[in-house]
Amino acid sequence: MECVVQGIIETQHVEALEILLQGLCGVQRERLRVHELTLKSVPNLGVVSSEVRLLCDLDQQPEPTWTVKHVGGALRGAGADQISVLVRTMIESKVSKNALRMFYSLGYKLDHELLKVGFAFHFQRTAHISVSVSSVNKMPKIHAIDEAVPVTPGMQIVVVTAPATPENYSEVAAAVSSFCEFLAPLVHLSKPFISTGVVPTAAAAAASLMSDGGGTTL
C-alpha cells in the first residue's frame, strides 16, 4: 500500500524546489534516471486484463537494477474522499535483469514506456517519504532511451509517495499532506488524475529562494 500525491512545476523553478527540498529533508539528493515499462496481458490471458510495471534504475552501479511493481485500486468511499492523498495498493519486488524477457514469454506485451530523469529525496518524517522531481520523456523507437524527448517540454512532475499499511495509512497520509504544505509556494500537490496546474505565484517564491539560497521563510 502507498500514499501518493503529485503535481507539476515549470522547469525554470525546479532549482528553487531543489533548494527548498534540501532544506526540508536534510538528506542528500539522489539522481533519478528510471526507464519505466508498462506491460499489459494479451487478450484472453487472465481472469481480468492485467498490467504490470517494470522499472529499470539506470544509475545503479555496476549495472542497472530492475523492480517489478503492481499498482492496484485506490481506497474508495467517504473515508477516502476525506483524505487529500491517494491511498492505493502497491506491491514491489526487486527482480533480476531478464524479468522483461520472462513477462514477454508469459504473454505480456509492452503497452508504453517512459524515461524519467531528475532527482529524488528519501527521508523520514513520521513516515518514510520520497519526493521525486523529474521530466517525463518518451522514446521515438522501442527502448531507445538515448533518443528520449520530453513529453511536455518545460514542465516537470513532482511525486510524493510513502509506503503504508492498512493499519497506519491515516497517519502516513497525514504526514504526506503536512509535508506537502511546505511545498505549496512552488507546487500544488494533489491526488493523481486531479490536476490543479502550476502555482501562479511560483515565480516569486522561486526568486526568493534563489536570491538567498533558501534562507527566507516563505
Binding site: S41, L45, G46, S50, I91, S105
Partner: protein, 220 residues
Amino acid sequence: MPVKWVLYWQPNQGSTVSTQILNEAAQCAESINGVKEGRWKATLNYYKPMLRDQSNHPDLPRDFLGISLADQPSKYYFIIRSQRIVVEADASIQLIMEKLQSYKSKVSLYFDGFQYQLGDFRLRVGRVVPVHSESIRGIVMEVEYLPISSVEKARKVMEEFVEIWHEALSKRSLSGKFVNTELNFGEFGLGDHYTPQHTGVQYAIVMAHMIATVQPVVRG
C-alpha cells in the same frame, strides 16, 4: 556461494520410489560420518495460465514454475525451462502474481528432509511430496562443496564425491540410483560463479526428468 549439485533418485525399471529409500539414503550419509545438522525445506509451484476463453489458446509456456529455496527465504525463483529463462525476485513477487490473476499455482510440491555436514561437503537428502499429501513422489539430494564457488573448478571434486556416495549406497542393494543432470548453465544466461539461480534451474531440470522417468508400478 558454494557450488551445489542437485541429484534425483531414479528407480530401476519396475520399481517405485518410497520412504524406505529415503531412510536408507539418510543412514548412508551417517555411515560415511555425516553429522546431522537439522531439517531443510523447499517449495515448488507449477503455474498454469488462466484463460477466459478456453477454446482460444495463445502461445504460452506450459513449464512455468516458481521455487522458494531453503537457503534464500526472502527470495523466489521463476524458471521457464523451454525458454531457458530464470529470474530471481523478492518473495513479494508471489503477491504480485496473485494480484495479476494471469497465472495460478496449480500443483505445489514440498522438498523436505535432513541436512548433513561431511567435511567440506554439505548434503541434503529429501522427499518430494505434493502439498496436503504424504505420498512420496520422489527423492532429491543436494550436494554442496563449501570451499569453491566456480562451477568448473568444483566439477572434479564433486564427481569424486558422487562416486564415493554411489559406492556407499550400492552396499544397501537399492533398486535405483541418484542421477545428476548435466546441464548448460550458459543457456540460461548463468556464469561460472555459482548462485541460487543455478540451484533453481537444476530443480527445474530435475523435476522435468523426474516426471518423465518415474513411472507408477503397473499392477497386473
